[in-house]
């Protein structure tokens, strides 16, 4: 059975960042990757998708964007190419085409079964992604026959959907982008909206991410926020990686997208929408106002303010059997796939329990989850800081194990 100090599962930006930090400390490791580097960026992204962060923010340990377009946004293919180059340049020990089938604790370390053999290691880093599996609500099973259901992971472009109206469920980054794209393709689009994070693409003449980065908002630490559970459940920002384009609800409704409340039920083929749309919009407007206040306080002067979200009369019901809707896009979030993890570190809802990426099982770490150690933990730019701190913890754990072995040997 081959052994190493650390098995990293997943060769995305998190796994590669962790690998770079381990290499810097000469900690022997391997990255197990089911397909090839940046697989989800190659296979689970729609055609037009671009990063929400500008190119200058594409930073990893030992890597910084040096291209000609620092204010642009990388396409999914561009991200995949960038990560492949990074893996090559950092000589990351990636074993591609190696699917992990189980991870179990054994003998003070872990046994990792794959379809290419078995590994043993005292430490394991789970870096297979927070967005591995799209989640759809239970009521999706009540959708009448004849309506096409699609998740953002499977969606590619408007041309791939049957003709007709589209109901987009969810108004976070994926939902607003797909509602925008489908509306521009000439389809009638209805967008069902729950709690969301309103965000302008530019503020005071700069990309909003510039302000969030400069004012330290993205660096806020997990052990400094008032309510971590809430912070970890904040939906993604309503942004699209197109220079200067804001895709908030005002922009979408002025363009002609019909707004409704959260999809709350489907009864006898009729979709029922929550009457809470005015309040979720008020919550998002107030939250944006507080964020801009934070930025202004850092800048020392006040900037512009955006018009409140205009909520016109929203339909409470929509007959899905009428033919008006041919497709439902479930932009209702993602979850990690840890079905192969057989170590008791999951809570009653199957979510991994961790303290800043450190699980209660010694030597087992996780990366890339929302607000893992910082607000930017799910951004590419968040991987470097998290990987450095988790590497320090992991190295300490290996030292402790080595010390224990020496003591028992003497």
């Amino acid at each position: 059975m081959p052994s190493t100090n650390t098995v990293i599962i997943g060769a995305g930006h998190c796994g590669l960042a962790m690998s770079a930090c381990l290499t810097a400390r000469s900690i022997d490791h391997v990255i197990l990757e089911r397909a090839e580097v940046a697989n989800s960026w190659r296979t689970q992204r729609w055609d037009s998708l671009r990063l929400l962060t500008p190119n200058w923010m594409t930073r990893l340990p030992g890597y910084q964007y040096r291209g000609a377009d620092p204010d642009g946004y990388l396409s999914a293919r561009g991200v995949a190419a960038m990560l492949a180059d990074y893996a090559h340049a950092s000589a990351a020990p990636v074993r591609t085409g190696t699917t992990v089938t189980s991870v179990r604790a054994a003998g003070g370390g872990y046994v990792v079964h794959t379809d290419q053999g078995v590994w043993h290691a005292p430490t394991v880093v789970l870096a297979s992604g927070a967005a591995a599996v799209p989640t759809t609500p239970g009521l999706a099973r009540l959708v009448p026959a004849g309506i096409t259901s699609v998740t953002p992971a499977r969606y590619r472009s408007p041309a791939g959907l049957p003709p007709g109206g589209v109901l987009v469920v969810g108004a976070s980054a994926s939902g607003v982008q797909l509602a925008d794209e489908l509306h521009r393709s000439g389809r009638p689009v209805t967008l069902a909206i729950g709690e969301h994070v309103r965000m302008p693409r530019t503020y005071r003449g700069r990309d909003i991410l510039w302000w969030l980065d400069a004012a330290g908002v993205l660096d806020q630490r997990y052990d400094e926020v008032d309510d971590l559970v809430r912070a970890r459940n904040v939906p993604s920002m309503q942004l699209v990686g197109t220079p200067g384009r804001t895709v908030d609800l005002n922009a979408l409704s002025s363009a002609g997208v019909r707004l409704t409340g959260r999809l709350a039920g489907i009864q006898d083929g009729v979709a029922q929408f929550s009457g809470s749309l005015p309040n979720v919009c008020a919550l998002a407007d107030l939250k944006l106002g507080r964020l801009l206040d934070t930025i202004d306080a850092w800048a020392g002067t006040a900037g512009e303010r955006f018009a409140p979200t205009a909520v016109r009369t929203a339909p409470l019901g929509l007959d899905l059997r009428s033919g008006e809707i041919s497709t439902i896009v479930w932009a209702t979030g993602y979850r990690p796939d840890l079905s192969w993890l057989h170590v008791p570190v999951l809570d009653r809802k199957g979510r991994i329990v961790h303290d800043g990426g450190v699980t209660a099982s010694p030597g087992l770490y996780v990366m890339g989850l929302p607000f893992l150690r910082r607000r930017k933990s799910t951004l590419i730019d968040g991987a470097a800081g998290d990987a450095a701190e988790l590497t320090a913890h992991l190295a300490g754990h290996l030292d402790a194990l080595a010390g224990r072995r020496e003591r028992s040997a003497s």
Partner: protein, 186 residues
């Protein structure tokens, strides 16, 4: 905080509520509640409902007394007006739920309330309950709640209080979202 500042007191024991929340991860079953009432027909559209027991925190619970509520319809409906209409109880529920939430959120955010008043209005088209137009629903076509709040806080903080109270309100959720209802006859 200055020496002359008086601690915020809206009469809400936020520590107790947060204490319950902090014990939930280890004992999620204490969160399972059941609310109950009984109702007896009196005469005409007049009925009387009693509320006495509920289940929660893992055991049977009891109000300190039995509360009784008369419901009827007004004289204009050729009824006796022995109590408010059932739909007005819905407004009572919504207004009291949102207002309790405002007090609790204000306490947690250290905002002293001086007065909180709201006017609730619900629009309804009688074509629905009279069966005169199948396109008109029985229930409210819309509800408006208008708050007047005097508190030691900015206008934005007060707006945020009211928004958060809606976000955490059971009755607001019950009214804005569908709920499965099963009615049995024994």
């Amino acid at each position: 905080m200055t020496a002359t500042e008086i601690p915020v007191d809206n009469g809400v024991n936020v520590e107790a509520l947060l204490g319950v929340r902090s014990t939930l991860p280890s004992t999620p079953d204490i969160a399972k509640f059941q609310w109950r009432s009984t109702v007896s027909w009196v005469n005409g559209t007049h009925s009387r409902s009693d509320v006495e027991t509920f289940y929660g925190f893992g055991e049977e619970q009891q109000h300190h007394t039995t509360f009784s509520y008369d419901a009827d319809h007004p004289l204009q409906f050729a009824a006796q007006d022995k109590g408010v209409t059932p739909v007005e109880y819905v407004l009572v529920g919504l207004g009291s739920c949102l207002t309790a939430g405002i007090a609790a959120v204000a306490q947690q955010r250290s905002i002293q309330l001086r007065s909180v008043r709201a006017t609730l209005a619900a629009e309804m088209d009688l074509h629905g309950i009279l069966g005169a137009d199948p396109d008109v629903r029985n229930g409210f076509s819309g509800v408006t709640v208008s708050y007047q709040i005097d508190a030691d806080a900015t206008a934005e903080e007060i707006q945020a209080l009211v928004a958060q109270s809606q976000k955490r309100s059971a009755v607001y959720d019950i009214i804005t979202n569908p709920t499965s209802v099963t009615v049995n006859v024994g």
